[in-house]
Structure formats: structure tokens, C-alpha cells
Amino acid sequence: MKGDPLVSIVSAGLSKFGKLEGLYAREIFAEAAKEAFDRCPKLDPKEDVRALFVGHMGESYEHQGHTGATMADWAGLLHIPATRTEAACASSGVALRAGIYAVLSGLCDVVMVGGVEKMTHRTTPEVTEYLAMASDYPFEQWHGITFPGLFALMATAHMHEYGTTERQLAMVAVKNHHHGSLNPKAHMQKEIALENALSSRAIAWPLKLFDCSLITDGASCLILTKPELAKKFTDTPVHIVGSGQASDTIGLYEREVFTSLAAAKLAAKKAYEMADAKPEDIDLAEVHDCFTIAEIIAYEDLGFCNPGEGGKLVESGETKLEGRLPVNTSGGLKAKGHPVGATGTAQAYEMYLQLTGQADRRQVENAETGLTHNVGGSGATATVHIYRRG
């Protein structure tokens, strides 16, 4: 039935996000897994968890591939089926989808889904090169287009078509940094001033330093089960009631428009349909603000406002913590940080905290229904999930 839970989240874990010097990806993942196990004393990890799906983007960072088995081992889950999913920055949004497939198929009663990335030990040019691998090699990377560059191409188009301003972009950063200052696990827990954001140095014009997400180390995970088993593990589950995933051309240049992501719109449509929900029903959202323009486009693609009005929506203050529809209460990719493979399930972790009333200083009162939006690359993959308090 539409609107019925697909699966339930019974626990969740998140490592500290930031520059985690001296730690290796598997050690960071173990930290997230430990929190998820500790939060759920009724779960026997070795007995109950039947599979792991883990998002991880790049083997270049640590010269380490084969991440599925590695993370299962370091989480103490040796011998269960362990699968790595890769869809650039949507790697763990896709891991979450895979976990839903596994539970709904009836093959697994309980699964762990998560993601991990260790990035900060590399130089910025190295990271820039590895991130660019999520774009088209022969026509984008080969011609010097970077990741910030792809979103800058969208920003220039959005500004030209709708009159979106650099000031509106900077407002996304100021808002998310404010939220991040309330999140003890965020990479950057400091407020920023609008003027400083506007005068920061260019990375890929019109995008400046403060328009970019951070290069971060971190890991995240969730424990999923069948809705009918949820109460066996916790009194306060969070149900996933809608799930959508879609794909698009790997090259941004092939698309009809650069001001909207077709995959995100399609994923959202599916998720809303499944959840029997409309954009007006959403109480809070975590959206993929890899660059400030991406949050503005997300508002439009998710139906929070009309096409072209995303800049005005951030200006209105409605997406602030105290607004009508708080967006990125965690600090988002901008301030909480963006360990790319970990981001999708880190967004779900925030939703889990919010919908179980555990978000502390950034708690949204009476939150019932939330949404997460995770984008891979320049939008060749997108996942959207809708959550309801159990």
C-alpha cells in the first residue's frame, strides 16, 4: 500500500566528521558501526545482521579497493555477504537502496547499510583529480573540467536564466554553517559572515571557497529491518516510506538543461508517489549541497518551490532551522563535511536523529516526515528517500 513503511531504521551511527589524521577508512567505519551497535542493545550484530552494503567512491585515496569485505571485517561482521556500491557522491544513497532491495526481497531480515571515505591525507590537486573521476573522462576531465567546475557551469546557467545571485548562493553557506555550529560531529563548527563568503577566493567562478563543500573524512551507517520486526529492536524506529533512484547522462554537456537535475526530479517523483506524500508534507530535508548552487537547484527539483525560485527561497529564511522547512540541519555537506561515500547514509543518520527527537540543539520540533536527497557526480545518479517517525 502507498505510504506503508518499506523498511525501518532501528539504529544508526556516524563517526566524527573532519580531518581524522592517522586513521584509515576501515577504522573510521568501525567507529560508526560501534555507535549503531551501542544504540541498539537488543541487536546481536553477529547473529542478526545478514548483509552489508557500503558506499565508497575512490580506491585512489588509500590505494584500497574491495571495500565491502574490508568494512564488514572491521565492523566485526566477518563472513556476511558484503557489497560495495559506487555512484560517486551518491554511493551510500545507493547502498541504502540496495539494503531496501535486500530486506524487501525477503532474503535478509536485518542489514547494515553505510558509507565511508578517507580524503584529507591527500593534497587538494590530488583530491580534485580523484573527484573528477565521477565525471566523463574523454570529454570533461580531458578538457580540464573539475567537480566544482561542473556545478559552476550549472550556477552560471542558473544565474543567467533566473537571475540567481552570488549573494543568494552565499546565503546557503551562511545558513548551513550556522547549522553546523550546532552539530558536535560537524567538520566545521563555526559561523561564517555573508561578506566573508562573498569575498572568498574563486575556486571555479562563479563558485568561491565558501560555495564548496569540504574535503572530509568520515563514515556513517544504519541498521535496517522489516517494519514488522522493528519493535523487536527498538521502541522508536524510523520508517522509510518512499525510495527513488534514477540515472542520467554521465556528461553534463549532453543534457537539455543545466539548471535542473532530471535524475533528482525522477527519483523525487517516485519517492513521493511511494510515500503518498507531497512536497508540502515534508517537515525537514537533508539535501545534497556539494556546492551552494546544488541546494538551490534541489529546492526546485524536490518541489519545495517553482523552477527558478530557489534563490528566493533561501533568501526568505524558510529553510533555516527555525523556518517553515528546515534544510540541512546537520550543517549539510557544506559544514558537516562531505566524505563522499559516507554522505548518503549520513543524511539518513540526521533524519534518524531528528525523527527520534535526538538532535539536541538543532532539533526540529514536532518533525514527523523528512526527506533526503543524494546526488552522484553532476547528477548522473540521484536517490531520494522519505522517512516517517515510527
Binding site: T128, G144, G149, M154
Partner: protein
Amino acid sequence: MSEQPPLTVEQFYKYILQGKLMGGKCKKCGKVHLPPRPLCDNCFSKELEWTEIPQKGKLLTYTIIHVAPTQFQGMAPYAVGIVQLENWVQIPGMIRGVALEQIKIGMPLTIDFGECVSTQQWPQWPRYYFKPV
């Protein structure tokens, strides 16, 4: 048919080296593919042929890259954009031969065939650029 070079990226760049901008065309449904592809994504036909693509177009959007990947660091800041050619296909590339602050959406551009990068490593593709008409 058998004489025809394969509809591949490798061959696309071989044509670039000869100063030609070539794409694929489906003989069945007429769709033009840039980059070329061996299977028509519209009608699934494998009957494709090479076709010349107009070298002029207009700039749809652009950015100025300041923080570049390792191999491009020496060139930064540089402009890249997406150009819509006169037959409506779209292609990205670096824009040169114009001051960065004079680049504007909608400006007419034409292809500028670069020099082959002399490296022994894969891929030994040349680079094409765009310049003002």
C-alpha cells in the same frame, strides 16, 4: 560499411588530429551522436555512419577554473564551457584566444584544433579548444 572506421571515442580523436569534428549518425532514425556510440540509444540500430559536425556554435554556459587537477595546474585560471553547435549537438571544451572577463553566454565560438599531447601513456588524444569566431 566494413570500410568505415569504428564509431568510437578513439576514432573521434583521430579525426580531431586531422582537423575534423566528426560525430555518429544513425542510418535508421537519423539521430546524430556526439560523442559517437556503437549502438543507437534511440532505436538500437547498429547501422551508423560518421558525419561531419559544424564547427561553429554558441556558448551555453561557462566557468573559470582556478583550482585545477594536477596536470592542468600550470594553465589555471582557464575557461571551460559547453558549446551548442549549429546542428544543436552540445560539446564541452576549453575556451582560449579571448580575455577571461570578455567571455559571455551566447557568444559565437568556433573550434580550434589543438596540438597532440606528446605522452607515451594512454590516452594519446589531441585536445580541441574553442575560440571566438
